[in-house]
Each structure stands twice: as C-alpha cells, then as structure tokens.
Amino acid sequence: MTGTYDPDLDLVYWGTGNPSPWNPRTREGDALWTNSIIALRPKTGEHVWAYQMTPADPFDYDGVHTPMRATLNIEGQPRKVVMQANRGGFLYVLDATNGKLLAANAYGKVTWADGIDLKTGRPKWTQVYHDALAGKNVTVWPSVSGLTNWQHMSFNPGTGLLYINTLHIGMTYEAPEPQAMTPGKPSGPGSVKRTTVLEDPNVRGYLKAVDPMTGKSKWEAPYRSPNWSSTLSTASNLVFTGVMTGEFQALDADTGKLLWSFQTPSGILGQPVTWERNGKQYVTVMSGIGGVYALRAGDPNLANVPAGASIWTFGLFDK
C-alpha cells in the first residue's frame, strides 16, 4: 500500500505490516516497528517519528493502510494530523509533526482491547487478547481481515467526516503450541487456527461516515458483503463507492442516502477517481471481482458474481 507525502512538513508517512511468525507464542517483545506508522525524511531517510498501533500483534492487524493527512480543528486550534482507520478497529489521529497521539477510538466492534491509553499510546488489552496469547481458543472482533482492509477511506473537509468501508466479521482464533521452524517453510498461515464468526450473514459490512476524533458514526449504510472498493468524497457532498456485486453508487455525504446506482458487469474492488477535461468533471472506476476476500472468504453472496475486467467513466451533467 502507498505512503503519503506532506510537502509542507517534507515528511513521508508509511504504514507497516504485521510481525512473523504469525503465531505470537514464537515471539517476544513488541516487534518494533511492525504495525506502525513511520514518518521519514524522504531526502535523507531520517526516521523522524513512529507510532506502533498494535504491539506484538497476534491477529494479523496490519498497519499498512494509507495514512490520511488533513488539518483538523481540535479544541479551537488547527492541527496538522495523520489519520488511519486501522485494521485492528481503532481510528488513530496523530500529530503529523511529531507523532503525538491525539485520539484513538473504535469505529466498530472490537473485543481484543477496551481502548487505547492516550498517554502511553498502548492498547488496553482485554482478557480475549491475553487468552489468545496463552493459546486458548477465543472469539475476537474484528477478524483477520480487519475492521477495514486495503480499501482507502476518504476525508471531506466540508463535513469533517471520514468515509470508511468497513467489515463486520469476527473470528475464532487459536495459537497452538508452536512447531519448530523449518528452513524454507512458511512461518505464517499454518501456525494459527481461525474460523469466521458472523452476527448477521446478510450484513457483513458497512459504509460509515465517521467523526475522526470520536470514532462515532454519523450514519452507517449496511451491505450484504463488505465493500472492498475505496470511497471518493466530493466537495458537492457525494460519496462514491463500489459494491462487490457490481453496483457503482453515489451516496449523500450528510445522510448516507443512496442517490444513484449503476450496475456494472462484475464486482467492484477498484478505487473511484475523479478528474477534469475541458471543464467537464468525470468519475471513473474499474469493475472486475477478485482478491483474497472474494476468492477465499466463502461469502455465499458473491458465489454468482461474474468475472470481468472493464473500466467505466461517467460524466457529470452540465449545469
């Protein structure tokens, strides 16, 4: 996943993946700087600051989601921040200049931690987490796929909200007694056990409009399968996104009301983009189902979605 460059601060922000082996019983310590956001000086490689979201991660809660740079009004003052809706279920807001943690709140169902200590920056781990490290079979939310995944969120400075396609899926998880490492053999997938847990098989995801400082939703639109397309917010208060069953949609940014939908021939995982030519604005998205979730999650809602590879461009109406 891509990093983010801030030309004003001359910093590059990059998220990092989870530690290996996946089974946490083979590891000790926090495994710095896995599951982290790292700020680097691009010309020198200087490590300016870093913040680790999930120390000693047992659940594969990567921190690789593209960091979102914005300026928020916090306690009456404009603050340059970096935001990340993390796979582990917390929405982090950090001071972009020094990495100070300003807010960290759950934006969906999370059971492995009760919150994040703003002073230390560390999770307030629950018994679920401790039992998982002890090798017990636990039910934990979110699942290995995260509360969100590689689909990018977007920020609308007008509404002050983040638009995030989320997953509503938990898992059973067990880290058995680790086996001896064998050169050349994978140390990841086979080292833990997990199964999928659902509250409602017909609601496996939401598109949420989230306040970055509280994690609370202004509105939530449920979907039968989680959207793996990103969101695109516009100054005209639209949110564009794609659905795994092929619908390309525009929703009202203030209310979540579905305003427009176009059926493409395959599932959408692509990222909507908007662009301008000769004074006219266009929105483009790719249609073509695939990826880990569609192929391997066993989601019955997607069993009959046809394969495809097409690109769709829509022009906005002339005024």
Partner: protein
Amino acid sequence: MTRSRSSVFFGLKSAAIGIMLAAATVCPVGAACEFPVVKQAIDIMLDQDAERAAKFRREVAAGSDSIAVMEALVSPEMAKKIDVCRFETAEYLTKRGFPPFH
C-alpha cells in the same frame, strides 16, 4: 613483490566466479511444480480415502490452514511436492471449497 590493481581485480573476480560455480553445484536448482501429481494425491485423499478425508475436513472446519493439514496427511515426499506447488495447490483447494489462509 607488488601486484597491479588489475591483476588483483581479476584474481578476486575469478575467486568470486569459482565460489558461485561451487555454490551452484552444491545447491539444488529450484524444483519445478508437478501439479498433476499433486492434484492426483489431493483427489485420492478427498475422494477415495474416507479416513484421511474426514480428518482433513474436521481439521479445516476447526480453523486449520488447508495446505498445512494436507501436507501433514501425505507422505513427506508428497508434502515437498505440495510445498513447491503452493500457489497451484491453493487455487485447487479453493475450487474444492477449502481455501487456505492468505
């Protein structure tokens, strides 16, 4: 006695080539995937060996990774062949309803 810079360079170069050739002789070249053989072993287990098929299904249903379980239930030689064909095995197990972990 002095040696020119170029003769030292060529001496080092020759030594490096010698080490590379020796390493190439000692290290086996990466084996090619023999997927028809692997597919046949998977099919035999799942379709004709009730005991091992039941164990495979039970362990995968309990949350184990399907490739890891498959490797544990076949001979060490076949496990090596599966390891070489991890991508093809993953695709095939997914088609059969047993997707491995990503």
